[in-house]
């Protein structure tokens, strides 16, 4: 269970425009299989920036990122896309569902991109994930017919479809009211405890963070508590 699935080795990043401002300073930490970790810190401390680097979407940094024992250094855009598709599920502050597709199709998209399973199997899996999140009845609706909380749950289902190594969240409850935040947190907790899913969630909600297994606190681009 304590296998390392994600490792950051001395990650630094600076914004250069208009003057060089260091955002992340030599950040190193590891994440084990099945851990439910939150990153907290004040606004502007670089926690989201770190998350985007860890998710391979931002490639402009120094240091090394190792996901599942494979270094992300030197991989091109297409290879990183495959890593994101296969290993990482992402939940954003805003749900980011595609309104052109139904809820079910939204959930199926990453699975279809992976192309590992037949369309029917993907559909089956998508239903299964929606069921875990308690929204299987909304499957054929369009995303804009859903409430904010439901949309966020669809987004989580989409993140889960390829059984990723890790789920990353960037303030996934930031846009939700208390009740829906609660539901989303419970889902995360269930995923971690029942399914052994690793989670890495950026939040500024200290109450949310305090209920996770491990808290990484950041200040001015450095980790001050792990």
């Amino acid at each position: 269970m304590s296998q390392i699935i994600l490792e950051a080795q001395g990650i630094s990043k600076s914004f250069h425009d208009p003057v060089t401002i260091p955002v992340l300073k030599n950040i190193s930490f590891t994440l084990n299989q099945g851990e439910f970790v939150s990153i907290i810190g004040k606004s502007g401390c670089g926690k989201s920036t770190l998350l985007y680097i860890l998710s391979t979407m931002d490639t402009d940094y120094e240091g090394n990122l190792i996901i599942n024992q494979v270094s992300m250094q030197g991989k091109d855009e297409g290879e990183l896309a495959i890593v994101r598709n296969e290993k990482i599920g992402f939940v954003f502050q805003f749900h980011y569902l595609l309104n052109e597709f139904s809820v079910l199709e939204n959930v199926m998209l990453p699975g279809q991109k992976l192309g590992k399973y037949s369309p029917n199997e993907i559909k089956e899996k998508a239903y299964q994930k929606l069921k875990i999140l308690g929204i299987e009845n909304e499957a054929l609706k369009s995303p804009n017919q859903l409430s904010g909380g439901q949309k966020q749950r669809v987004a989580i289902a989409r993140a889960l479809i390829n059984d990723p190594l890790i789920i990353m969240g960037d303030e996934p409850t930031g846009n939700l009211d208390k009740k829906n935040s609660e539901i989303v947190f419970d889902i995360f907790k269930e995923l971690a405890e029942v399914y052994g899913q690793s989670l890495l969630i950026v939040t500024h909600d200290n109450e949310f963070a305090s209920r996770t297994q491990r808290i990484i606190e950041m200040q001015d681009g450095s980790i001050i508590r792990m």
Binding site: Y52, A81, E86, F90, E100
Partner: protein, 419 residues
């Protein structure tokens, strides 16, 4: 698998904004329609105008020209010396306009594989007698069948039957202008005087209208034997041999060859009518230029719409990238969108072009100079449809290429964090 997914996404994006898609497709449809219609119409007119001259002009005309010999006896005398002779006032020697040994030449020409057909002709300078007045004219003695087969003679006979020239002895088809001057009707008998003073009464069996006033005022047609009789010549007197070739482009070479082989004057159609070739090529150039411009304008329309679509879909593109679609996939999605607009719009454009051409083909177009033409001419050349469809796909591809590249380069982090 993957392609099918990309196809699905492209279709969904297209249908989500179907009005915009439709506008883009209509842009392509319109330009392809106009491209095809314009080219068909222009080249139809071109063919008509060219046909006016080209159909009726032999590809190679063999004739005897009265001119002074290039080679004078004194030249033979002074061949070996270094002197140069200036000879003035040379006159051609008395010669007949007749082509020597014409029967053998015709026989020989007919066996030539490059030759489509040969029509012999006798030209006679005559006077049409109108009461006491004499009007100058020319009678072409022709073989009506060969003339019709090779030069569409029937198209220019507006009244009467051209075969009557052969079937009715001493008959004539008068030029429209000449007939009006002589107040001649079909069935009338007109008096013709040859340049040598021979008089002959000929029965009018038809009228001829070429569309060229100068010709219609002067020329008339009779059978070869009638003309020979008028000239008082024997029945092997032929002044012109009109040769039509299978390939018009070979005419200059063939003319040179015949000139050498038969020791006779030969002129090819390109030399005789060089202005027509220039005219028609410039006209088709203009129509292509207009057509291509239309397509490029449509291309810009597609470019704009795709560009707009990409700005609208920034979020979707970012999210597609976040969940594991590469820049290449995104690029393919938008190229596919552009191409489907191009293919769909282009296909409708082909149908529209055909339809519009067909409509123009029905519009009456009556002109006294072109007796056989009733409606506007259209050239239904399949190559225009081919060019149109290829061009539709190429322009839409190019129009989609740059926006797609932009879409593929979108950085998801900037968009997602920008919220």
């Amino acid at each position: 698998m993957n392609f099918k997914l990309i196809q699905n996404i492209a279709i969904s994006l297209l249908l989500a904004r179907w009005r915009q898609t439709l506008v883009a497709a209509i842009g392509v449809t319109f330009s392809i329609t106009m491209f095809i219609t314009l080219l068909s119409f222009m080249s139809g007119l071109n063919d008509l105008l060219d046909g006016l001259i080209l159909n009726r002009t032999p590809h190679v005309r063999l004739y005897k020209e009265i001119k002074a010999s290039d080679y004078q006896p004194v030249d033979i005398q002074s061949k070996k010396t270094k002197q140069y002779n200036f000879i003035r006032s040379i006159k051609p020697k008395s010669e007949r306009l007749e082509i020597q040994n014409s029967a053998a030449i015709i026989k020989n020409l007919k066996t030539d594989s490059r030759v489509l057909g040969v029509a012999p002709k006798v030209t006679a300078q005559v006077f049409y007698n109108v009461g006491v007045i004499e009007i100058t004219g020319v009678i072409n003695g022709i073989d009506p069948e060969a003339e019709n087969k090779l030069f569409f003679f029937n198209d220019y006979v507006t009244e009467g039957n051209f075969m009557d020239l052969k079937n009715i002895p001493n008959s004539i088809i008068l030029g429209k202008g000449a007939a009006e001057k002589m107040l001649a009707q079909i069935g009338d008998v007109v008096q013709i005087t040859s340049s040598k003073g021979e008089r002959l009464s000929l029965k009018v069996v038809g009228f001829f209208q070429s569309g060229l006033q100068d010709i219609d005022n002067i020329q008339s047609y009779a059978s070869i034997s009638t003309t020979q009789k008028l000239l008082g010549e024997s029945n092997n007197y032929i002044t012109d041999l009109q040769v039509k070739l299978n390939d018009i482009l070979m005419a200059p070479d063939v003319a040179k060859e015949y000139q050498r082989v038969y020791e006779i004057q030969a002129i090819d159609i390109q030399t005789a009518n060089s202005q027509f070739e220039t005219g028609s090529s410039v006209r088709s150039l203009i129509s292509y230029a207009v057509g291509v411009t239309l397509l490029i304008v449509a291309g810009f329309g597609i470019y704009n719409i795709l560009n707009m679509m990409i700005y609208e879909k920034m979020d979707s593109i970012a999210i597609l990238k976040a969940i594991g679609f590469s820049g290449k996939d995104v690029n393919r999605i938008f190229i596919l969108i552009a191409l489907s607009i191009g293919v769909f719009g282009g296909f409708l454009g082909l149908l529209g072009g055909f339809g519009l051409s067909a409509i123009i083909d029905q519009i009456p177009f009556n002109t006294s100079s072109l007796p056989t033409v009733q409606t506007y001419p259209i050239n239904y050349n399949p190559s225009y449809y081919l060019i149109g469809s290829i061009f539709a796909i190429i322009t839409t591809y190019l129009a989609g290429y740059f926006p797609s590249r932009k879409a593929s380069k979108i950085d998801p982090v900037i968009i997602i964090r920008g919220k």
